[in-house]
C-alpha cells in the first residue's frame, strides 16, 4: 500500500520534481525503492530517520 500511495503522489508531479517518502522498515523499505526504479523513477537517496521510520527521495 505504501507504494500505491507513492505512485499516486508521483503521478501528480511534473517531470524532475522530487518526492520525499517517509516509510516503515521491512516490506515498504524493501519494496518502494525497488518498485520506483522498476517504474522508471530515479531513487536519489534512502536514509534512516529514527526508530522504524526511513526516508526515500524519489525524482520523477
Amino acid at each position: 500500500m505504501t507504494f500505491v500511495k507513492t505512485k499516486i503522489q508521483l503521478s501528480k508531479l511534473q517531470s524532475g520534481d522530487i518526492l520525499e517518502v517517509l516509510l516503515m522498515e521491512g516490506e515498504p523499505l524493501q519494496n518502494v525503492p525497488k518498485s520506483a526504479r522498476e517504474q522508471g523513477f530515479k531513487v536519489l537517496d534512502v536514509s534512516h530517520v529514527e526508530g522504524q521510520v526511513h526516508k526515500v527521495i524519489i525524482e520523477k
Partner: protein, 170 residues
C-alpha cells in the same frame, strides 16, 4: 509479504495483467480486491475488475440505503445493499458490528480504508466493469453506477479481456 512479492514470484514470463471477479461484496473481500488491484496497478499491471451479484453494491452511484432498481423486489434488495459503508464481513459479522470494528482498527493502524482503496483504484485507472446478467436481474442501469465503470459486460467479453493474464474470483 507485499503484493509485488506475490505477483513477481512466478517463474513463467507472462503479460502483467490481473483480472478480478468481485462477486461476494463482503467488506473483507472488497478490501482484498482493491488492495490487490491497486498494488498491481501501482507496479504497472493492467487491472480489470468485473463486479457481479453482491459485488455490484460496491460501485453503485447512490451509496447508502436507497431503493435503487426497477421493480418491487429489486428495490427491496437495493435498500438492503447499502453500498460500501454497510458491507458485511464474510464471517463473524456480529450483526454489522465487525465492519465497524475493522474500520476502526484499520484507521488506528494507519492502514488504508476501503474508501481510500477505491479512490486509489480510480486514480490508478483500474478498469471496472459491471456484470450485465446481475444488473438485469436487479433492474439496474449503467447510470446507477459510478462513472468510472467503463462498461457493462457479459462472460464472453470478460474472458476476452482477461485473456493472457491472471484471474481471481473474490
Amino acid at each position: 509479504m507485499e503484493i509485488s512479492d506475490i505477483l513477481t514470484s512466478l517463474p513463467v514470463k507472462e503479460p502483467k495483467k490481473l483480472s478480478i471477479i468481485s462477486f461476494s461484496g463482503d467488506f473483507d473481500k472488497l478490501v482484498a480486491t482493491f488492495t490487490l488491484a491497486t498494488g498491481a496497478a501501482a507496479i504497472g499491471y493492467e487491472v480489470h475488475i468485473f463486479f457481479t451479484f453482491w459485488g455490484l453494491d460496491a460501485i453503485k452511484q447512490k451509496q447508502g440505503r436507497a431503493f435503487v432498481g426497477t421493480g418491487f423486489l429489486p428495490k427491496i434488495f437495493g435498500f438492503f445493499m447499502g453500498g460500501l459503508r454497510s458491507a458485511p464481513v464474510s464471517r463473524l459479522n456480529f450483526l454489522g458490528l465487525s465492519p465497524k470494528i475493522f474500520r476502526y482498527l484499520m484507521r488506528k493502524k494507519n492502514v488504508a480504508t476501503l474508501e481510500e482503496l477505491v479512490e486509489a483504484a480510480k486514480i490508478l485507472e483500474v478498469n471496472m466493469y459491471a456484470c450485465e446478467m446481475a444488473m438485469h436481474i436487479l433492474g439496474l442501469q449503467k447510470s446507477d453506477f459510478i462513472h468510472e465503470v467503463k462498461d457493462v459486460l457479459g462472460v464472453a467479453t470478460f474472458l476476452e479481456i482477461s485473456e493472457g493474464g491472471r484471474t481471481l474470483f473474490i
